[in-house]
């Protein structure tokens, strides 16, 4: 009956958002009087997996098959469905991210489970099994009630604060026999963006729009990002005119992000742009036009020329960091 949670790791390190998913699972396990089984796939050291106990997993099932180092969604599905059946689990949790989104719906279809895509709350059991999620690109929230016996939840990353306990998890090694079709997709090339912080995982983001005037001024955005340890993003016209790479484009037709802090520089704040960033906890807008619509969606605003404000802000961050170390 345990709550199953899929854990993601990269280069042998468990991702922070997966600790968050385990902690989320632990809270639901407590609500439903059961325990958490964390599932880890691919090459990773036992010592790293033990840390899952600190966030509420009582058992870790490790399938060490190194083919699982890459995302093979059907193989991941086979693993999760096998484990869920063996444990008679009613609740399966993944993250609402690229990996989770490829796997969770398959698991749900096999187990005839209803899905919540992008959970922002714990289930409300008084109303059935209702979970809050964002709809209409952040313009509203919906309480989705899962009617099926088995439930699949994809948790929105960066929704809950992590808090560590001294809990311990036991590690159990398992082998699962996969079929050929579990590896039907062949990966022929991988191009990891190294050295940069992945935008979708970043808790701090500095973003530039057309108000930056041209790619030659992007050093100012990068300097601030570097000082903060932030990722960089941009508005659509900026990516369309190739000032910045496409993966940085956020908004309705680009990526959706929910960082703790989003600093928008020279971006007007069109509704299609807001659709990708309005889940950010704090928004700072720097714009020379005091009437720019983005100020209405911002927590903090600076009216001024980006070229003059950015170096000052970068210097202030630097000074702050020096004082706090």
């Amino acid at each position: 009956m345990s709550v199953i949670v899929l854990v993601e790791h990269t280069g042998g390190n468990i991702k922070k958002k997966s600790f968050e998913a385990v902690q989320y699972a632990a809270q639901i396990a407590q609500q439903t009087a059961t325990t958490v089984t964390a599932v880890v796939l691919g090459s990773i050291a036992d010592a790293e997996m033990e840390a899952l106990g600190n966030y509420g997993a009582s058992k870790v099932i490790h399938i060490a098959d190194n083919r699982l180092d890459e995302l093979h969604a059907r193989a991941y599905t086979t693993a999760l469905v096998n484990i869920a059946r063996a444990e008679d689990s009613k609740i399966i949790i993944t993250l609402y991210d690229i990996n989770g989104r490829a796997v969770a719906p398959r698991v749900a279809a096999q187990l005839k489970a209803g899905i919540v895509a992008g959970a922002l709350s714990y289930p409300n059991l008084e109303k059935g099994f209702a979970i809050k999620k964002s709809v209409f690109s952040g313009k509203a929230f919906a309480w989705v009630n899962v009617l099926s016996d088995v439930k699949v939840i994809m948790l929105m990353p960066n929704t809950f604060q992590l808090s560590k306990t001294d809990g311990k998890a036991t590690i159990e090694k398992q082998d699962i026999s996969f079929s050929e079709k579990d590896f039907g997709i062949k990966v022929t090339a991988v191009n990891k963006v190294t050295g940069e912080i992945a935008l979708t995982d970043a808790t701090l983001v500095v973003s530039g729009g057309r108000g930056m005037k041209g790619p030659e001024n992007w050093g100012l955005i990068e300097d601030l990002a570097k000082e903060l340890g932030a990722a960089t993003a941009c508005s659509r016209p900026v990516a369309d005119t190739h000032w910045r790479p496409h993966h940085e484009h956020v908004g309705q037709t680009g990526g959706t992000i929910r960082p703790d802090l989003y600093i928008a520089v020279g971006i007007s704040g069109a509704i299609q742009h807001l659709a990708g960033v309005n889940g950010s906890k704090t928004i700072v807008v720097i714009n020379s036009d005091p009437e720019a619509p983005f100020f209405k969606a911002a927590n903090y605003g600076v009216v001024g020329d980006a070229m003059a404000v950015l170096p000052k802000l970068t210097a202030a961050v630097k000074k702050f960091k020096e004082q706090h170390h």
């Binding site: 039907g184 191009n191 979708t200 037709t253």
Partner: protein
Amino acid sequence: MKILVCISQVPDTTTKIILKDNDTAINSQGTTYIINPYDEWYALVRAIELKESGIATEIHLVTVGKADIEPVIRKALALGGDEAIRIDAESIDPYQTAVYIADYTKSAGYDLVLCGKESIDYNNGTTGVLLAELLDMDYIGFATSVKIEGNVAIVNREIEGGEETDSCNLPVVIACQKGVAEARIPNMRGIMAARTRPLKVIAPSAITPLTAILSYELPPAKAGVKLVSADNMDELVALLHTEAKSI
């Protein structure tokens, strides 16, 4: 090669969301519906490009929805579909929607199924994966380019922290996003021709939904922006640290 493009209809992005019936429903009066941007700009346009380059022979469009969404599917046909299929049902449960489409698709013999990364109404991004599972097909999500070489799809896709190139035998379901195609708009001739293209209506199979929406909430209004002088960036940093607690 036959391509199926899954088209969902969504409220225009600029629509203001108004709740009704004790917050259990969205007031859709006066709402303009559009083709989900990912379906139109990327999936459908890529299908059209594949047909123009002689790789695809036929493009079919499928949508699950009631009769009132026909203008949306007509517009999609005007962009370049050969035939549209409307499954006559209203569904916001992704599993139910996927079963409807899968039951139609099973016997129709498509080599490639294209859908969008997600619908901008319920922001699930689950229909395509469910469809692939129900059809026992592979699925590639977050695609940024789609090429077909013989019986193989060569797809670039976004992965955690980068990009990869995948190859996969047809048939396959691919969810498209930015990069897959350049956007275009229909010309008048296309719109006229689309009137004569078939729009078939079929009945949905019997399947009960696995989820239901109990109620909606609107986000709390922003407290209002706090303006900081451009000459006082130390204050902004201090606010971000002590008040917003984000650095």
